[in-house]
Symmetry: C2
Subunit: 509 residues, 2 copies
């Protein structure tokens, strides 16, 4: 898998050979201090396909279009990243009203804002140093917001207690995930920490593990069973890994990214039992917890299931769960808001975690404020409730419709098969590529699905991420596409991919 990812970055050509250039200029006989050869080797191993070479090319094409270069299309549609607002989703009014009030409190005197928005803004401002969101907050996050998060979790989990002391606000979920992994990694050689991640995975995980020099342990999701997770596969991967590293962490993404599956309650229970038996720290990436669309599917938090399994589990299994303001119905990626809840964490380690996050001072306060509104939305007796619910429901209903539409359309295309998008905001269809196309890709020095996606970008202006950026079983090919474009545009996108796929298959048959 790593080889594939590396190959997919093979198109990034060095812009200049500095040492020789400098020698020619006669300016210096020594090379640069910092070169590809003398930089941090772990950073070199980091790859992040969601913003990889295909996106760089997409940005370039956009510039070319602006400059009047003729293309077979008039705009680039970026379905590579879960960025709802960029795809035209409008911000939720209530959230933005409160943020405006927090930014410029003089607006609290203005009559254009509803009272509940003002009330929220006043409460947030009162909890800020000097009543300003420009002050640093506590490094763990503003206390009253952590309290609101804890109450939100309790409501979500049917009353299972949550303590604000276990909540850490973060700069998006990514920040908290990397921090948690950093705490967990230690040892050298065969004692080096191994971290189990699903394949396909969200490449933040592989990137963070490369950066930290931890060992990636890949377990495969079962594409034939709607990307479900099987404990037997976890056990296979774990046992194999025990030969060469010290497996200590199991990461789960539910609902799945890039695969869009929603785990059953039974499966979660099995995973928790496995984690306890094998003495693993659980990391539950639950940022898509409000994005569940399929009939019969329901989001079950790892924490709730853990506590329902009784004290033998709820008082021992160590866990961190992650959430974000970037997804769900809000899609407020730019604010970089998020939190994690830690469960059964050793108090000494918690003190170390608090110390570690203090070095970066605090997560962005506007993002914290936004998170507060997400966990503490307008209530039925408040003036903003109706509009808020209308907007929220509209976003989620449209996503559900687009999830269905995507699956249905792709499954009508010969050579594309697509699992249901039960949740999250992506589809990860499998594409059958003719051998001649695979050979052609090799000739071009690209992995086959990167070649496919690059061709799609150049010919149709649609930017997807090749499956190799997420990992996939050897010999299979996929792409990840977000379902975020507005319905009418999504129909066009699906149609264009359909036509491209048929043409591409034809060309190489």
């Amino acid at each position: 898998f790593l080889q594939h990812v590396k190959a997919s970055f093979g198109t990034l050509k060095p812009e200049a050979k500095n040492m020789s250039q400098q020698a020619v200029n006669g300016v210096s006989h020594r090379g640069k201090v910092l070169t590809l050869d003398s930089m941090n080797p772990n950073v070199k191993r980091v790859e992040y396909a969601v913003r990889g070479p295909i996106v760089q090319r997409a940005v370039q094409i956009e510039k070319e279009l602006k400059e009047g270069v003729k293309k077979p299309f008039t705009e680039v549609i970026k379905a590579n990243i879960g960025d709802a607002h960029a795809m035209g989703q409008k911000p939720i009014t209530f959230l933005r009203q409160v943020l405006a009030l927090c930014s410029y409190p003089e607006l609290l005197e203005d009559n254009m804002f509803p009272e509940d928005a003002k009330k929220r803004a006043r409460r947030i401002l009162e909890s800020c140093g000097g009543h300003s969101i420009g002050a640093y907050s506590a490094s763990q996050g503003i206390e009253c917001i952590r309290q609101d998060v804890a109450r939100y979790i309790e409501r979500r989990d049917g009353g299972i207690p949550s303590s604000p002391d276990n909540i850490y606000l973060s700069t998006g979920a990514s920040d908290a995930i990397v921090t948690m992994l950093k705490l967990l990694v230690c040892g050298e050689g065969r004692s080096r920490t191994g971290v189990m991640i699903s394949i396909p995975q969200y490449p933040l995980y592989s990137a963070a593990l490369a950066d930290l020099g931890a060992v990636q342990i890949s377990y495969y999701l079962d594409e034939d069973k709607c990307w479900s997770l099987d404990v037997a596969e976890l056990r296979r991967a774990l046992n194999a890994a025990r030969q060469h590293c010290n497996p200590r962490v199991l990461c789960i993404i539910n609902p799945g990214n890039p695969t869009g599956q929603v785990q059953s309650r039974q499966c979660i229970e099995d995973v928790i039992r496995f984690a306890k038996e094998e003495h693993l720290f659980l990391m539950a990436d639950e940022v898509y917890q409000d994005n569940v669309y399929a009939e019969g599917c329901k989001f079950h938090s790892f924490k709730k299931v853990l506590f329902e399994m009784g004290p033998e589990y709820s008082s021992t299994v160590e866990m961190a769960s992650f959430h974000s303001t970037s997804k769900c119905y809000m899609g407020e990626c730019g604010f970089r808001g998020g939190y994690m809840e830690v469960i059964n964490m050793d108090p000494e380690v918690k003190a170390q975690l608090t110390k570690l996050v203090s070095v970066r001072l605090c997560p962005p306060v506007p993002g914290q404020a936004l998170l507060d509104l997400v966990v503490n939305p307008p209530q039925p007796d408040e003036p903003s409730y109706t509009t808020f619910m209308k907007e929220r429901t509209a976003v989620l209903a449209a996503l559900a419709e687009k999830a269905r539409l995507t699956e249905e359309t792709f499954n009508t295309v010969p050579g594309i098969t697509c699992n249901p998008v039960q949740g999250a905001m992506y589809t990860f269809p499998r594409i059958t590529l003719p051998q001649k196309a695979i050979d052609k890709a090799k000739e071009e020095g690209q992995v086959p699905d990167m070649y496919y996606c690059m061709r799609l970008l150049e010919e149709e202006g649609i930017c997807l991420v090749p499956g190799s950026g997420f990992g996939q079983r050897e010999g299979t090919f996929h792409f990840r596409m977000t379902i975020l474009p507005p319905t009418e545009k999504l129909k066009v996108v699906l149609q264009k991919i359909r036509e491209f796929h048929l043409r591409f298959t034809q060309e190489f048959s």
Copy 2:
């Protein structure tokens, strides 16, 4: 020095012994997965005194006061951190108007906002995906903001060119500093990267080096010469370090934190020459570039001096310079805005840097918007100019007055000596402690200046950071205090410290 810092954290007692506790509960025979013994050892070595145990105690005291516990004071004054708004400084109107407009663009229709604020907001929104600050930006930062930053640098440096391609927006300056250090660190054992940092230093540096497992090379600033930097001392430190590591990086903070000195042009030239001779990558932390108060002092950017030294230097010396929205006249810490400019960076390494920052997706967009206003403030022909200049000047004039007041007052106290606060927003006075106080501190298991600061906190409600948190010459003691409290409150603080110091000295004489 590290020993001192560690000792200063000795007060963080473990809250529970989990393994034994669990054994007692009979719940598990195995301990936790993640314990102090099994966590990342580098993280354990991280220390960050600015938010260390003394601040935790200050927060606790605030709670006690709220609960009605009687204390010899009615409020805790936190002079431990450069957090202007928390100390009562009001946000700059123009900045916040634009942020409110960006947050809730419906306000663009409102008549209460000046046209130039609307114009800025429209321009920022147009550069955002879907015209929303809730969309992800490019990982390097919004392009038009990077252009504005480059133009700002060109104006600052008298026309020396700056390219938006060399600008990386960041989550506060801390984020960019850590990212840059991460790129630079490699090797093992005697080949491990060594990084030169000043003593006293801002503890982000020592914390990041501990986290990365890099070697800290300490060079001492000369307290007797107003904390100036002497190249002979750099050379001493470098030569000593060459015995056990591979020194590759030289970090400079100018204006100084915690020491408040402003480097002369000559000194900067000497440092650059030294960096070139010794083949070091320069990291110039210039976040206090607009905070210069002393007569005869002027901020000289490392980049400008580098380019004035001619092509032999300007085309070879590798450098990164850091700036932030948290300091200067804005004090907008909570927004976590910042940027770095890289100079002479190997293009292949730059591609790696761009890849690395893409993993975290993007810096918070509200912080990017704020930065844009800082580098592109109202112009003389614009409606907001007068108010903006009045507010900006008032903040900087008050800081200059408080810098003078602080130095003067401390120097009247027997046993306190204080260099001029030429710039930044801190004073780092030297305190003479009686031997009996030093002995008493040892008895209590604290370093002497931590003991002093803890007593000051308990008795006067003033929160400072002990000098040991920043590093100081063996046998000397200091504290860092911000000059940010409003003038009248600062006078009270200085008076209280004066009285405490006399009482403390008396007690142990």
